[in-house]
């Protein structure tokens, strides 16, 4: 962000307090000005991507920055000019709450629902303010500071989803009333969550005319495992294993995104080698994530052969990962200030072997799929989405790019020397399921390019910062020197002390922009850690994508969006 942007914002919103936190412009506004400010930011400042909506509860915060207990933060992005703006406002009465922003951005619909579910902050005028992550019989709001972390509430019976589905059907002009005259009726069907095509954690209910979907509602939260509440109870480094389990198909990317956000605010400059390691491993995991998506999508359209081609390469890559991290699926390989440890000897040769194998496997698979008539008929011109729709729903990553929007944080807001690499950003032309599927093959090729360049450029040296306040001292020091022992104890018990403040930082993960919004009270434990999961907003667009299509189209669309339950529900 440049300085002129901040001045322009202050001029445009004289009644708001405008500050800069790392690269983000933060506007503190009065509740009455909220809607006008948000609208003006979208219209005049190009902030057409609403990244996230979240609440903050200052109940136990030392010297809170405002008199109200709650605050709501809207995080917006102008993707053309690399400008991130956060609009914050205090909530004097959570029951009255704030005016909704869902008429400005479609993505606010789910964002505000989550905020209501987790914090109990009302959004007046919201079209569908229901619980989203917690179940219908849940009482209270778990992310409030006075909700005990282990207060469990049993659900005896699942929600039928009948009311929201009928409400959505009634709100749409589908002409289904005429069906009764023909002696037929709308059929209601539930799919998932225990259905193979919904990959275990997503449930959707549809209203059907024959096989055509008239209305659709999606229910999530079946894998809501309380990541954000747990993070408030652990030190910063202890949260890293929890981040593995967000998007478990590319665990390392979550690790990197998480520590990158903290390092950025705490002004920790990691070593060159660690930066290159993160590039190499991040891109490698991006490939693995895409391999799983493509393999599963093939199975969902009935092509099992493809699965064996792609999954074989992923399986082989586990050998490399096991050597590096000790585990297959969960990496936990980053630490604040660097990496767990350096690469093993001879890693370059092994990496090159895997890259060549992936090139061949993915190439074979692409050859099978690309010109396959059945696949083309199933995917082309199915569930099309325009660039405007995609942005309004808050899509990011390959799903956004497949709609023709050339936005990628690695190019538009480069970190870790991404501007030094020669690579392309594949974009789609149609915004259909076929584009969402094929773009992942292309991204695999680009990631391989980046890894090969990074492997040539990677310098030697340490992978961790030499700072006892940030990183554990060497074992030799711990066992022989009192300072080393003291530092070790303080690091383990108290964690890395991050300065007091609030900030947001995004990272281009395999599924899109993975962001972390932190509130720090200056201790070694996050006061609040909110994830901006790309899947969450992607799935929010699902009803709009599939309505008017057939059931079978919805299934293939779901698998090509690559929704990962752990990240979706957290």
């Amino acid at each position: 962000m440049n300085d002129t942007a901040l001045t322009q914002l202050q001029e445009a919103f004289p009644s708001a307090t405008c500050t800069q936190v790392i690269d983000t412009a933060v506007l503190d506004v009065q509740t009455d000005d909220l809607t006008t400010t948000l609208t003006a930011l979208k219209e005049n400042f190009g902030c057409d991507l609403l990244l996230d909506v979240t609440g903050i509860d200052y109940l136990t915060y030392p010297k809170p920055p405002q008199k109200e207990r709650f605050r709501v933060v809207y995080t917006l992005r102008n993707w053309r000019d690399n400008l991130v703006v956060q609009v914050r406002t205090g909530v004097s009465n959570p029951k009255i709450g704030l005016p909704t922003a869902s008429s400005i951005w479609e993505s606010a619909n789910w964002g505000e629902r989550e905020c209501w579910d987790q914090y109990g902050i009302n959004f007046s005028g919201h079209p569908d303010l229901r619980r989203i992550l917690n179940h219908v019989q849940f009482e209270g709001h778990p992310l409030r500071k006075d909700y005990p972390v282990d207060k469990r509430q049993v659900l005896m019976e699942s929600d039928s989803l009948e009311a929201p589905l009928k409400a959505r059907l009634a709100s749409k002009d589908t002409g289904h009333e005429a069906m009764t005259e023909l002696g037929t009726d709308v059929m209601f069907l539930n799919i998932g969550p225990a259905h193979p095509a919904t990959h275990g954690a997503i449930r959707f209910a549809v209203a059907l005319d024959g096989e055509t979907i008239l209305a659709n509602v999606v229910e999530i939260g079946y894998l809501h495992r309380g990541f954000e509440k747990l993070a408030e109870k652990h030190t910063y480094n202890q949260v890293i294993p929890l981040t593995d389990r967000l998007n478990y198909c590319s665990s390392m990317m979550n690790n990197i995104a998480y520590v990158k956000a903290i390092e950025k605010f705490a002004n920790i400059e990691i070593t060159e080698r660690a930066q290159f390691m993160r590039v190499v491993l991040g891109e490698f995991y991006r490939i693995l994530d895409h391999l799983v998506c493509l393999a599963a999508a093939g199975v969902d359209v009935g092509g099992l052969t493809n699965y064996w081609y792609l999954y074989d390469e992923k399986e082989a890559a586990y050998d490399f990962i096991s050597k590096l991290c000790g585990g297959r699926l969960m990496s936990t390989a980053t630490r604040i200030g660097g990496m767990y440890h350096d690469f093993h000897e001879g890693w370059e040769k092994e990496m090159e072997f895997h890259l060549a194998a992936i090139e061949k496997g993915a190439g074979d698979s692409q050859g099978l799929m690309e010109k396959n008539r059945i696949l083309q008929d199933r995917m082309q011109n199915v569930c099309r989405f325009s660039p405007e729709q995609a942005i309004s729903f808050g899509l990011t990553g390959p799903n956004l790019r497949s709609c023709g929007v050339p936005f990628d944080l690695r190019k538009d807001a480069p970190y870790y020397n991404y501007d030094a690499f020669d690579f392309d950003i594949p974009i789609g032309s149609n915004g259909d399921v076929y584009d969402r599927f094929m773009i992942r093959y292309e991204e695999i090729k680009q990631s391989i390019r980046i890894i090969r360049q990074a492997m040539k450029m990677i310098p030697g040296g340490p992978v961790n910062v030499n700072d006892p306040q940030v990183h554990l001292p060497k074992k030799a020091q711990v066992y022989t020197k009192i300072e080393g022992l003291a530092n070790h104890f303080k690091m383990v018990f108290e964690g890395v002390h991050v300065p007091k403040g609030e900030w947001y930082d995004g990272y281009e993960a395999a599924n899109g922009e993975l962001g972390f919004h932190f509130v720090s009270d200056g201790s070694g434990t996050p006061y609040k850690c909110k994830v901006r999961p790309p899947c969450f907003y992607t799935l929010g667009s699902f009803p709009a994508m599939v309505e008017g299509s057939m059931i079978a189209d919805a299934i293939v669309n779901l698998s090509c969006l690559n929704i990962i339950g752990g990240e979706l529900d957290r």
Partner: protein, 174 residues
């Protein structure tokens, strides 16, 4: 030296106990219903794929209808929101049926000791084999399968399979 029917018919027949022949058939044709919710399901995918190849144990016919399966593999975290669905699916499986709890979350809630996670699926349904690990390696899942096969060897058609769990009362059985 052959006795009985084998003596008169030679090597063309084998005699056995009815229990043994049925158990032999059952243990090598377990059809899994994969209740995959999270990370462990990815490791089940590896178990089913070429390198670990679950079909070596006769359990490769993955069914997604509880009516067609006899081994419920719960792969992943079960939340309170998910629990009634798991409970219903368990009761839809026909007897004889077995339950494998794959991974730390299904077994005990794992690292998720909080407001939304069930602290072990044995609060909801009876479990026959537990697999440790977060997530378990494919070898762990195969080992559980072999353990289950051993358990099946001791079954008898004279014993009602439902009798094993007749005293079980979970939090949703009210």
């Amino acid at each position: 030296m052959a006795l009985g029917i084998e003596a008169s018919l030679g090597e063309s027949v084998l005699t056995s106990k009815l229990d043994e022949i049925i158990n032999w058939g059952r243990k090598y044709s377990l059809w899994p219903y994969v209740f995959g919710t999270a990370c462990c399901a990815i490791e089940f995918m590896s178990t089913a794929a070429a390198q670990f190849d679950i079909s070596r144990f006769g359990a490769e016919v993955v069914r997604y209808s509880p009516r067609q399966a006899d081994m419920l593999m719960v792969c992943g975290t079960i939340t309170y929101k998910q629990a009634p669905i798991l409970h219903r699916i368990y009761h839809q499986l026909c007897e004889p049926k077995w339950v494998v709890s794959v991974g730390a979350c299904a077994t005990s809630g794992g690292i998720y000791d909080n407001y939304c996670t069930v602290q072990g699926i044995d609060q909801i349904i009876p479990v026959d084999v537990y697999v440790s690990g977060c997530p378990p390696r494919p070898e762990g899942i195969l080992n559980a399968l072999m353990d289950l096969q051993k358990q099946i060897e001791s079954n008898s058609i004279l014993i009602d399979p439902q009798a094993r769990h007749k005293d079980f009362r979970g939090i949703l059985d009210q």
